[in-house]
Amino acid sequence: MTDLKLPALSPNTKITQDFSTTQIEVLYSRPSIRGRKIFGDVVPYGKIWRTGANAVTRIKTSEDLEIAGHEVKAGEYALYTIPGEHSWEVILNTGIGNWGTGGYSHEGDVARFNVTPQQAAHPYKVFTIDITDITFNTCSIELMWENVKIVIPVHAHNEAHINENVDRVFNDDKAPYYQIATYYLEKNQHTDRAKAAIDKALALQPTAFYMWHTKAKIEKLLGSKYEAIAAANRSTTLAAGTPYEEAYKRQNELLIADLDS
């Protein structure tokens, strides 16, 4: 009823992370060490933990994901853990409205797996959840507190689905050809398709210096040395007079030097 605002002991955090073609949201409260011993004491071993403070930590995904080898459907889940000295159990559960460990029910489990705790590179005073090592279809959810780090591998199994979608739109004039080219170039897969896509993109925007640089990279990957050099030079020429002149000149030169060696 009053509007007295006081700093929280374990302030709330919300992380919203785009990942692959989905979005992961983490909602949690962050307790601090404050001179205490945490694991094996404040947070006892072998007992279920809300993996944070106050309300149970929640993780939400907008698409199906594989989390530590377990298929997890799109949805929001409570993240429980059972810390241990040598092994942690990680539990994703449907009881998202729970406060602390009250209300936890085994029947709500959607995934349960063990993770070997690692030594954190430095001590974490405040309990921290981080989504890191993000690639096109993998990332890690890290839990860190005191000297402990728990790494949960996440995998988006959407490559086949993306390929199908690219097939579906490829002959559509409005397909995002440049993005398709970049995607396959960076994945180092379907490089012929990357080349077809960048050529279509360039047909639509023949003066885009950054597209010519991408073409140079694709041609290089395909072993077409002369095409790569021509595209790199074209990129440098077209970038002249833009704020990106210097940067593209250098990158194109590096690419050509790499081809010559």
Binding site: M1, T2, L6, P11, K14, T21, D130, I131, F209, Y244
Partner: protein, 290 residues
């Protein structure tokens, strides 16, 4: 400044959903948002996260001595809910763009009100709200994906860590609000206005007694907490019971307006809407009878 390699590429590849073809592709530098409660307000960070992908980062992809958007794609934004001291400099509540100028032995950190577009001829200092230098520290183990992290949170201080490759830059943040908090505690504990008027009003209303007193008390409760949608709903019900239809409708509308965006929005829209509808119905009936 001229050295923004990949910036155009990043911008374009960030557009992962093409409206025409509905093709969703994984972004190279996905967006992230952090909303962190801190002290008596909050810090919001929104940024894009490029990855190393086998490249050398600092001194190469991100050259030393040139301003960097401190991320990828759109410039990194930091929003603070109240005045804070960032890197030793006072910064007012608001949203700012974060720039850094990475260096081998020193980084320059810039907070600016600029919208982030860097002009080719250099960085406009007149929009700065803070500018300070920080010595980078060594980060053990390659940090593959560019990361911003708020850490070491106490009641009045925290740190903003910027980590990529083997470099970590730690920006100290202090909320100079201890005095303000103490004032508020004092005011709250010693202010006679904090009497339980809402409960008293609710009691008389629910027991259908002393409705005039209920109305006096609900007004005092509103004075204490003018934004509490649930108090305005009680006021609407009391006024209705007293036959003050206009006042009842006004209070109900106020309650609906204030409930917007809260978890109780649906419930209060429904209840207040019903109350207004009932009043309108009685009015119509009266008109028919007249």
């Amino acid at each position: 400044m001229k050295h923004f390699f990949l910036s155009v590429l990043f911008i374009v590849s960030a557009i992962v959903v093409n409206a025409q073809s509905q093709l969703k592709l994984p972004p190279l530098s996905p967006n992230a948002k952090i909303s962190q409660d801190f002290s008596t307000s909050s810090i919001d960070i929104s940024y894009s996260r490029p990855s190393m992908r086998g490249r050398k980062i600092f001194g190469d992809i991100i050259p030393y001595g040139k301003p960097w958007r401190t991320g990828a794609n759109a410039p990194t934004k930091i929003k603070i809910g109240e005045e804070m001291e960032i890197g030793g400099q006072k910064v007012k509540a608001g949203e700012y763009t974060l720039y850094t100028v990475p260096g081998r032995s020193e980084w320059e950190v810039i907070l600016t009100t600029g919208n982030g577009a860097l002009p080719a001829d250099g960085y406009p200092r007149d929009l700065d709200v803070a500018r300070f230098n920080i010595k980078p520290s060594y980060f053990e183990g390659d940090c593959q994906t560019f990361t911003m992290l708020i850490t070491d949170i106490t009641f009045t201080s925290c740190k903003l860590e910027i980590v990529w490759e083997r470099t970590k830059v730690v920006i100290p943040i202090v909320a100079r609000n201890a005095e303000h908090i103490e004032e508020n505690i004092d005011k709250t504990l010693n202010h006679p206005a904090q009497l339980p008027y809402f409960q008293a009003a609710s009691y008389y209303f629910e027991s259908d007694r002393k409705l005039d007193l209920a109305n006096t008390y609900v007004d005092k409760a509103i004075e204490q907490d003018p934004k509490a949608f649930y108090i305005w709903y009680l006021k609407a019900r009391i006024e209705k019971k007293l036959g003050n239809n206009e006042e009842a409708v006004a209070a109900a509308k106020k309650s609906m307006e204030l409930a917007k965006g809260t978890p109780n929005e649906g419930e209060y829209m429904h209840n207040n809407g019903k109350l207004i509808e009932e009043i309108n119905r009685t009015k119509q009936r009266r008109q028919v009878n007249d």
